[in-house]
Amino acid sequence: YNTFPGNPRWKKTHLTYKIVNYTPDLPQKKVDDAIRRAFMVWSDVTPLKFQRVFNRHADIVIAFARREHGDGYPFDGRGNTLAHAFAPGEGLGGDAHFDDDERWSEYNKEVNLFLVAAHEFGHSLGLAHSNVRHALMYPIYKYVNPASFRLSEDDKRGIQKLYGRKSS
């Protein structure tokens, strides 16, 4: 695993997130559920807790966008770059953006929102890309069945280095 230079991380364990818009590819409930499950990937192995908020400030802001979308890192249409997220911090820090030119899916092998969101939230929490092929934080998208998804030891070691283990 890798962390970002300076090891940025949240100095609190209770984090808020906000979904500012939706992809037309999935019903809103499915998006909400995929996002919730993606945060659980990380809260299951650390003391972190995630709370969804509406109409107020959130640590992690989640948006679907196309091409240039105001952060200086434009998306590139269908394929190639699927999403990106920012390391922990104020402002854009922690925010996760998903390229809405992709075809987002819940179950099938087209770009699976849960898998990509879980990866992006790793960045939102302070993990950089891992060069371990089966790690969630490997930069290349690879479909695995979300129902049987398990966080790799590499990812677990990385996130627990930043936030510690979940107390039993």
């Binding site: 890192y73 990106h84 960045h123 950089a128 890309h129 930069p139 290349i140 998208y141």
Partner: protein
């Protein structure tokens, strides 16, 4: 000569694509400025555990075509 011109244009496009990929995911700001394109390809090949040739071989090109996260592999 038309055939040759087409080859050159394809090779220029490939070069531009490689450079764009490396600029985005292996930014120069994160590395010593003196690194050549070959060195930067090697850096990428090292990250992905590919055979280190410093050239745009089929294996490297295949990785570059795959869908991926937009965050750089080398954090600047």
């Amino acid at each position: 000569f038309p055939a040759q011109l087409q080859q050159e244009s394809q090779s220029n496009t490939a070069f531009e694509n490689v450079k764009a990929y490396l600029d985005k995911f292996y930014p120069v700001s994160a590395q010593p400025k003196s690194l050549s394109l070959e060195d930067r390809i090697k850096e990428m090949q090292r990250f992905f555990h590919l055979t280190i040739t410093g050239k745009l071989d089929a294996e490297t090109e295949e990785i570059m075509k795959q869908p991926r996260c937009g965050v750089p592999d080398i954090a600047g």
